[in-house]
Symmetry: C2
């Protein structure tokens, strides 16, 4: 994924060059807590779209640890059956805890596959806190996946995922507690002010419910042009915000430097650590570097 990082020499120019060629793909974010079966679901969806004759790209965001070096992740093990299919492109991004890295590299990977002409792109990411906002910023549809037995269903609300869902899926729907999860989620959705997302039940490991998910996705894909345009405008605004924020962080990082090569702001950081200066004043000093 390094080549797609938009701040690497040459990469930003490449991304600028291909950007006008994009905008045609149907980009689907798939998010949810660890263990709900996102990869298995995406695998099923890839198979279904391939059966429809559409080429599919998968961008899987693993906020993996430098600790494991990604080696333990078994790089999309379940998707091996698609590896020899030229119509499927699978890319795993290891964000390695880098702040802002997720949205930056995700947006770049989506832009590349979009420009390359993939009509369907899945973006798979662990959803909680920040990630779900990122995925909504970069996609045309958001699928939020949950599963029975992952603690109280109220926990799902905590992570703010319902807010951004176009489809809400109870995966592992053949397991104990599935009925309860569906009932709880139905009750919660009834309380919501906005139009409720479609609520579906799947057992992706055995292929159950995949056809219904595809049908629901196609309904989103067929939204009126005006609605799609409004969403793309929001995405554009958020993407520019993200780039602006990342650039400011990059500039600050350079000004601070590191132990072996302290930058002009290094002494200022020492003051913050010693509490003789507050971090907001230190940020003010940045603009004078």
């Amino acid at each position: 994924m390094r080549a797609l990082d938009d701040e690497r020499p040459g990469a930003r120019e490449a991304l600028r060059a291909i950007y006008p060629a994009g905008g045609r793909a149907f980009v689907v974010g798939v998010t949810g807590s660890p263990g709900v079966g996102k990869s298995t679901l995406v695998d099923g969806l890839v198979g279904a779209y391939r059966a429809r004759g559409e080429r599919v790209a998968v961008v899987a965001v693993d906020p993996s640890s430098p600790f494991s070096g990604g080696a333990l992740l078994g790089d999309r093990v379940r998707m091996q059956r698609h590896v020899t299919d030229g119509g499927v492109f699978i890319r795993s991004l290891a964000t390695r805890g880098q702040q802002g890295g997720l949205s930056r590299s995700t947006a770049a990977a989506v832009a590349v596959h979009d420009a390359a002409g993939f009509p369907v792109i899945f973006v798979e990411t662990v959803g909680a806190g920040q990630a779900e906002v990122d995925v909504a910023d970069a996609t045309d549809a958001v699928v939020v996946v949950t599963a029975p037995g992952l603690g109280d269903q109220i926990q799902a609300l905590k992570v703010g995922l319902l807010e951004i869902a176009d489809l809400l899926i109870v995966n592992k729907g053949d397991r104990e507690g599935a009925e309860r999860a569906l009932a709880d989620l139905t009750a919660m959705l009834a309380l919501g002010a906005r139009a409720a997302p479609a609520l579906l039940r799947t057992a992706a490991a055995s292929g159950q419910g995949i056809a219904e998910v595809v049908a629901a996705l196609e309904a989103v894909r067929g939204r009126p042009a005006a609605e799609r345009a409004a969403r793309r405008r929001r995405q554009a605004a958020r993407q520019v915000l993200a780039i602006a924020g990342e650039r400011a962080r990059d500039r600050a990082r350079a000004a601070i430097g590191d132990e072996s090569a302290p930058g002009p702001l290094a002494a200022t950081i020492d003051e913050v650590a010693a509490r003789t200066l507050d971090p907001w004043s230190a940020a003010d000093a940045l603009s004078r570097v």
Copy 2:
């Protein structure tokens, strides 16, 4: 939490003013997937520290949904027993999906309680993707909580939490699968290059293992001053980066405006949405506004 948002009029000045008074608290981040029992564990730790005679503040970060308005969260229900204890201060932050809101409001809340003289501050947050980096940036110790039966333990690695853990806890340790979870984590820790975090087993709901967690936390608290200073310097640098990034985003947001009040960059965003301009060039235009 609104009053602590560092960009509200007066709030930033207040935060600057109190900042020098801080730096004495022992700030402990507690993070993990939804449903692992973080609140129950923190509740137990609060009780244990109160029994030691220390005042405790809890900053609970709920990335809750505007969808639910936070009303369904049952604001720290399990901690009600501490509500009448003047030595405990509990503050829930609803970040409501605002990008960057977590680190900004968390840092502000920690700064306030630190300056107010709380010797122990717990920061409880859902950990995945971005949040775990945020919590490591704002704390002196990180407790990563997991539980049996939350899918493959390898999923825990995916979210990059082992990298930042000082303590790794298998909570709900009286449930089926706890032995297996401990064995898996022990094996994974053995593979790691860096010094492994302490691995502990708790059943927080019945108080089991709380004393051992306190002992492990106190070991971290007693680290050599040089080690503590290095960590604080890293935190200071990251906090300044976060502030710089947020300010840039705020400036971009103002330049874009909204539907009712378009800013000078509104037309530029339309171009990005229409793919006649790429988002990186749009971000370039920001500096000329």
